[in-house]
């Protein structure tokens, strides 16, 4: 029983990271109708920036905030330079753009910080949380930071004018322009926020998986699985999907014989395929109907 509870809690902790990545993916998907394959590499690069700042002696939370600001601006720049010109291009052109972005950022991380794995500090420590053996303080910190982030995002989108404008631009761009919203900048803002959210995920997971340029590839795969499970059209669904995938991954790794650690990633892929076949809109998504 203790093993079971332990796996559930550990699943919620990693699920929090998947939730962040899924949310970042969904935010960009809502804005431009494309999946950002480079979301993980962007998060990794941000995490390297944080690591570098800490190496230079910046205190952890200072580095955390600077990294968020850097990622926010970086995300906006990527949108302005690469994807704004591709806005009306065919899907495959955009896919090529994302793959290029993936390769470029991945190589840049390797070039600047090389491929040896690095320790990333945790501000929470790794002792047992509240004296319980079930969960470590870092895992509790991962859950806590994610929950605070989600609450802030909820209030931003629900109660601020700019949040309302961003939702309007994502749901009906033409109507949004007709009430005077600059939808192009709303998309850029979405990129900035998604990149910053990805950076938080990267910085939280780095102490667990160690920092190296390919750190987020597996994590992003789970993020995609979470987004698909929850529904690509639903930010709320993406978050729930993240936690579910985290729990499912841990339970499957522990209880299904033969899965173990090695076969955990194919589980994410199997989950994506199963959802797409059985319920393409996901748990909370709207079915997507396109006129042809």
């Amino acid at each position: 029983m203790e093993l079971f509870t332990n796996q559930i809690l550990a699943g919620i902790a990693t699920g929090a990271i998947y939730a962040c990545m899924a949310l970042a993916v969904v935010m960009i998907y809502q804005a431009i109708d494309h999946l950002n394959f480079a979301q993980g590499e962007m998060a990794t690069f941000s995490t390297f920036v944080a690591w570098q700042l800490i190496q230079w002696g910046v205190p952890y939370w200072g580095a955390f905030l600077i990294t968020l600001a850097f990622s926010f601006v970086g995300g906006i720049l990527i949108e302005r330079v690469l994807f704004k010109p591709l806005a009306k291009a065919p899907i495959l052109t955009n896919v090529a753009g994302f793959i290029a972005l993936f390769a470029i950022i991945n190589s840049c991380s390797g070039l600047i910080w090389d491929f040896t794995i690095k320790q990333f500090p945790t501000p929470f420590g790794s002792s047992p949380f509240l004296g319980s053996q079930l969960i470590s303080t870092h895992q509790a910190g991962m859950i806590g930071v994610t929950l605070v982030l989600l609450i802030l995002l909820f209030f931003f989108f629900r109660f601020t004018r700019i949040g309302l404008a961003m939702r309007a631009a994502a749901s009906l761009p033409e109507s949004a322009r007709l009430v005077g919203i600059n939808t192009s900048w709303m998309i850029a803002l979405g990129w900035g926020m998604a990149t910053a959210i990805g950076a938080i995920a990267g910085m939280l997971i780095a102490p667990v998986v160690f920092l190296e340029p390919n750190m987020m590839i597996g994590v992003l795969l789970y993020g995609f699985a979470a987004a698909v499970l929850g529904g690509l059209t639903s930010p709320f669904g993406a978050v729930i999907g993240g936690f579910l995938v985290g729990i499912f991954e841990n339970l499957a790794g522990t209880y299904i014989p033969g899965v173990g650690n090695e076969l955990k990633l194919p589980i994410a892929l199997a989950l994506i395929i199963t959802v797409l076949v059985v319920k393409p809109a996901g748990l909370f998504g709207r079915p997507i109907v396109k006129r042809v």
Binding site: R161, L164, S171, L172, E174, L178, V179, N182
Partner: protein, 237 residues
């Protein structure tokens, strides 16, 4: 009376297809003008051209300033509200959020709050449903919401694309009454595109008739309503 909107030699294109062939017309400040025509004549395209939502050549001037080259959102910010065909309701948001979106470019918080109350006076049904998702409203209610959302901009000019489309006759009468009131009391200049010519001509003071991308007739609404050709072609009696 001063001319608020002046359109000269307007041509519009959808890809290779030309939809407007040198349209010329003007709107007087404070007027209520209707643009009549059959399906495919170019009525919707004309409204879309004013808001730069379709590729055009020619000149459109609003209060003396050219609109060509401005983005849709910047044209709206000048005080031109456009109620599109199909209403453009943000269906997943509440009625009140839709109204707030109408005023999203304004900075005067107190004015926005009082304007929302004013819209609830104009359209009591919206007040009753202000927390409801806009997608759950009936067609007539959504059209009222679309008009109210446009008014939240405090527009100088309002463009309406077939507001009567898909609505029961009684509701259309109500809606047109409100449009007349907005035109008279709030001094909003209105251009309304309609297939329901009879009703539009009762309401409007000026009318243009458009045929395959050209203005073929213009005049006072009463004159046009009594014109034999128009009656045969568009009024059906």
């Amino acid at each position: 009376m001063t001319t608020m909107l002046n359109v000269r030699d307007l041509r519009a294109y959808y890809g290779q297809v030309q939809a407007l062939h040198g349209l010329e017309f003007g709107l007087n400040e404070g007027s209520l003008t209707t643009l009549l025509g059959a399906n495919g004549a170019g009525k919707t395209t004309t409204l879309r051209a004013i808001c730069n939502m379709v590729r055009t050549t020619g000149s459109i001037e609003f209060e003396g300033a050219p609109l060509t080259g401005r983005s849709t959102e910047n044209i709206v910010r000048l005080g031109i509200a456009h109620v599109p065909q199909g209403r453009g309701t943000f269906t997943t948001m509440t009625v009140e959020e839709n109204l707030q979106l109408g005023s999203i470019t304004r900075k005067d918080k107190a004015g926005i709050v009082s304007d929302i109350e004013r819209m609830y006076d104009h359209f009591p049904v919206l007040k009753a449903r202000h927390t409801q998702q806009a997608g759950t409203l009936s067609g007539g209610e959504q059209q009222m919401l679309a008009v109210a959302r446009a008014l939240m901009l405090r527009p100088r000019l309002m463009l309406l694309d077939e507001p009567s489309f898909g609505l029961a006759p009684l509701i259309v009468r109500d809606l047109f009454k409100i449009l007349g009131k907005i035109n008279r009391e709030d001094k909003v200049t209105i251009l309304v595109v309609e297939q329901n010519a009879q009703l539009a001509l009762e309401l409007a003071d000026k009318a243009y008739v458009i045929e395959t991308g050209r203005i073929v007739m213009s005049g006072n609404a009463a004159e046009i309503a009594n014109n034999e050709d128009v009656r045969k072609s568009y009024l059906g009696y």
